[in-house]
């Protein structure tokens, strides 16, 4: 166990950054464990609670080909417990889980080798029996129960294309419970209930990407927009990929990536700094670092012509349009953020006012930058729903007209002040909640050169000029760089 004294460094130097009033710089502390885990703590004694956000720099884009969704799968598996937490008899269970794998091998072999159905059925029955036996010594959802009884709220995790996060809010006196449990998960996770969870993830896929029109459309939209880069793959994986997950390949992914030197832990709340540091050293300090393996993520080639996707679905029409955009640290990401706000943020924004309030051709119109991730060049996206009897074509034409206006006319100073005020207000709103602050600090620490760069955000938005807006609209929002996806009902629904 590490005994080295680590000094807490108040980030006082940052107080001069141009975010008067946030007070954040004075309240933030940073230190690093010997194993490379970066820790940020922000003292907010207002209420006796602490929010923890542990973010790893691994997500969907780091998955090997054929293993789409495995990052999400292992995120689920990280809630199945450890040798000690979740087993009635760890030794026996390890044996039984080995037997489950043997039975799985036999069953998958039979499937893949085209064995007679009778043989497949027999092996499937054996596979199910082995699983049932292993279940007999397992305690399902023990981590949820243990953390729940501590008063934990929002004990959860999520996987994105760029990263994976484990989050929880705790009564301030019970911080040790989560640190102890989470460190154990990273040290000694047991992937029990693996094949049962494969079925759960299949249900999740059906629910999110098949029976939800917007999820169905998004999957096809991204696949069309990204032909090489993994941002084009479904984050949850294809049904075929999910069905073929095996414990050992999932484990290999887990073992490769989820190490302390690949993560940032941000804690915000009523923290006793010295005590928290001691606890992290005691529990997280035992984890071993492991180097990030060399990985190759294919670049998305320049798009050379508009791509269009038509999806027939039994639902009312909707529209997605996405243009390729650059990634951090390109300054244009802030310019595009401003363009998005000008067009769709607020009732007086150009597109909202025109489509929803005045012409009433749309039920809604919204936009986002850096879709579906921000580590690599991504998309600048609009999403809109036409109002019957208006069509997606009408909305598309209006959106292009407004973009053309931006390409030809300079935005007024008044409109820019509106965006500047919005940037400040939304920045402070994000900081207002412990969870919002923690998530943003973790992200900036991992991917944007340090958490303190977060403080520069409103200033960067405010520095965007009318000329830059016109140039970015001309440079990025060109027809040949865009993908258009339209979901519309089939003949049966349309006839209703």
């Amino acid at each position: 166990m590490l005994k080295k004294i680590l000094f807490l460094i108040p980030a006082l130097l940052l107080a001069s950054l141009p975010v008067a009033g946030s007070g954040l710089a004075e309240q933030a502390y940073r230190f690093e464990l010997d194993n490379g885990l970066r820790v940020l703590m922000v003292q907010r004694p207002w209420a006796p609670v602490i929010h923890c956000h542990l973010m790893f720099d691994v997500g969907g884009i780091d998955e090997p080909p054929g293993l789409g969704g495995i990052a999400h799968m292992v995120e689920h598996m990280a809630f199945k417990g450890t040798s000690i937490l979740g087993s009635l008899n760890p030794f026996r269970e390890h044996e039984l889980l080995d037997r489950v794998e043997e039975a799985a091998d036999a069953y998958f072999d039979a499937l893949q080798s085209g064995a007679p159905q009778e043989e497949i059925d027999r092996r499937h029955a054996e596979f199910l029996r082995a699983r049932e036996e292993a279940q007999g010594v397992a305690q399902p959802n023990i981590l949820d129960q243990l953390m729940g009884s501590q008063g934990a709220v929002g004990y959860n995790a999520y996987t994105s294309y760029d990263h994976t996060s484990y989050v929880v809010s705790l009564p301030a006196n019970r911080l040790e419970a989560w640190i102890r449990v989470q460190a154990d998960v990273l040290l000694d996770a047991v992937f029990r209930f693996f094949y049962e969870e494969v079925d759960v993830v299949k249900e999740e896929r059906r629910q999110r990407n098949e029976d939800q029109p917007v999820g169905y459309l998004r999957e096809r939209f991204l696949a069309a927009a990204f032909q090489k880069h993994p941002y084009g793959r479904p984050l949850i994986g294809s049904m075929e990929e999910i069905a073929n997950y095996r414990t050992r390949t999932a484990w290999e992914f887990w073992e490769t990536h989820y190490h302390p030197n690949r993560a940032v832990l941000v804690m915000v709340g009523d923290i006793d700094l010295e005590r928290a540091k001691d606890l992290l050293e005691r529990y997280f300090g035992v984890l071993e670092p492991r180097e990030r393996p060399p990985g190759w993520i294919p670049e998305e080639p320049e798009q050379e012509g508009e791509r269009r996707v038509w999806v027939e679905y039994n639902a009312e029409p909707q529209l997605m349009i996405g243009w390729h955009q650059p990634a951090y640290p390109d300054r244009d990401i802030y310019v595009l953020e401003v363009i998005k706000d000008l067009l769709v943020s607020g009732r007086s924004s150009r597109l909202y006012k025109r489509l929803v309030v005045e012409e009433q051709t749309a039920l809604s119109v919204s936009g986002a930058t850096e879709v579906p991730g921000a580590r690599y060049p991504s998309l600048f996206v609009f999403y809109a729903q036409p109002r019957y009897p208006h069509t997606t074509e009408e909305l598309e034409a209006a959106i292009y007209e407004e973009i053309e206006r931006l390409q030809n006319e300079l935005v007024s100073a008044d409109e820019l002040v509106k965006i500047h005020n919005r940037a400040r207000a939304s920045f402070f709103s994000v900081l207002a909640s412990n969870s919002g602050l923690a998530q943003n600090m973790a992200y900036y620490e991992l991917f944007r050169g340090g958490w303190e760069n977060l403080l520069a955000y409103p200033g960067l938005i405010q520095s965007v000029t009318a000329e830059e807006i016109r140039e970015a609209a001309r440079k990025y929002l060109r027809p040949e760089r865009r993908t258009v996806a339209i979901l519309a009902p089939g003949p049966e629904k349309a006839a209703e």
């Binding site: 006796p48 000690i84 129960q145 009884s149 629910q207 009732r347 709103s429």
Partner: protein, 478 residues
Amino acid sequence: MQMSKTGAPMRLAVMLAVLFLAACPGSAFTEKPSIEWPYPDEMEFPPLEFTSIEPVRHVLSNGLTVYLLEDRDLPLLQGTVYIKAGSIYDPPEQKGLAGLTARLTRAGGAGARTAAEVDERLDYLAALVTVNGYVLYATAEFSCLSEYAAETLDLVADILAAPVFAEDLLATERNRMLETIRRQYDDPVQVAVREFNRRVYEGHPVSLYPTIASVNAITRADVLAFHAAYYFPENATMAVSGDFNTEEMIALLEKTIGRWEGKGVEPPELPPFDRQPEPKVYYVERPLTQSVIFLGHPTLTFDNPDYPVIGVLSEIFEGNLYNEIRTRRGLAYAVGSGLSDGYRIPGILYAYAITRADATGQVIELILAEMEKIREVQITTGHANRVRDGAVNRAVFRHTSASAIAGRNAVDDLLDIDPGFFEKQLEKIQVLTPGNLLFYAFDYLRPEEVVIVVVGYAPMFDKKLEEFGEVILVELEQ
């Protein structure tokens, strides 16, 4: 196969693990430092010491009760006006009136400003102001940079006190509402929730939803009349929190929101809900890969002393459903149970699951079996302790932010919930044991009385829905 939920078997297992270390070379976990770490249930923590922060209560001269709480960390102001003007007060033939009135209050112009001028000015200030209708009340919510507090509150005051309800904006908001109704069948979960509510509360105003016809029947005169009847300060409460000095804020509120005129009228009473829905199966046919299942029955109102116990039972039920249907059988990603707010009308004890079509019958059976089991088999002390401790330990989250504290006080006041009511509920929870939980479960979980709603595609189901009761095919209306 019932698991043990206490730490005791685990300690034994660890002891055995250590004793037989030599005999089990493959078991690397025994070499890990976590073997010595305390079991979470046995960890001891210092008591949580904190003084609960209470907002300042002040009644403005127009009769509006305001809860104010300073939080000067960030230069922000936020607040909500809660008005007893929810959809529960809709006339049945004009369902949607409360919602439309709320939206038009914000969108239809205010004071001397046109709608576009209000939008423009609020956006310029980066002030977010929304007015929304919910079931029991409507809310006017606002947030802004504290430097723009005075002008934002001035605009909020105009929105509340002098909405214009411009005819063209009525058309816009009505059209949006109609489009939302057109789209209401696109999301199967929403379809299921709506049908479930409709069936459980059948005969009561809360069971009704806006239709194309009911929304088209609303005139501007109806909106004006609804607003006149419900939107007045004595029928509302307000929460304000953020970067201000309380005394100065009271003066500012008096100057701005104080313009909203009081009418001194008693708010209308809600009709009671006093019938039991018939236990039937309502089937909505949608060609989907999964079925959305909701089942449950009405239970107590929140002011019944046993209401918090049903919350605990529902939590136990949810844990068991999750273990059985999700973790052990992999039949659903979304599965659980809950107890809806029992304000004014009885809450609903419900369970839900979203499962592949060919497991629909199996999942309904499993939910009913788990419901039965809670009534028949006493849960372990360990499990009961964990659920009880969780409820007590997370009570601190009622105090996490100034806006949450001020908002909670304002809502409690609006709904006539006594101060200290929550603490009384906690006391009730603290003394629960497996024995008395079983007793309560027998009384309050009634599988034979559940209304079942299934949205999905019956030709792909594994069982006939008739096995669970009389099946009513629901024709979706626009």
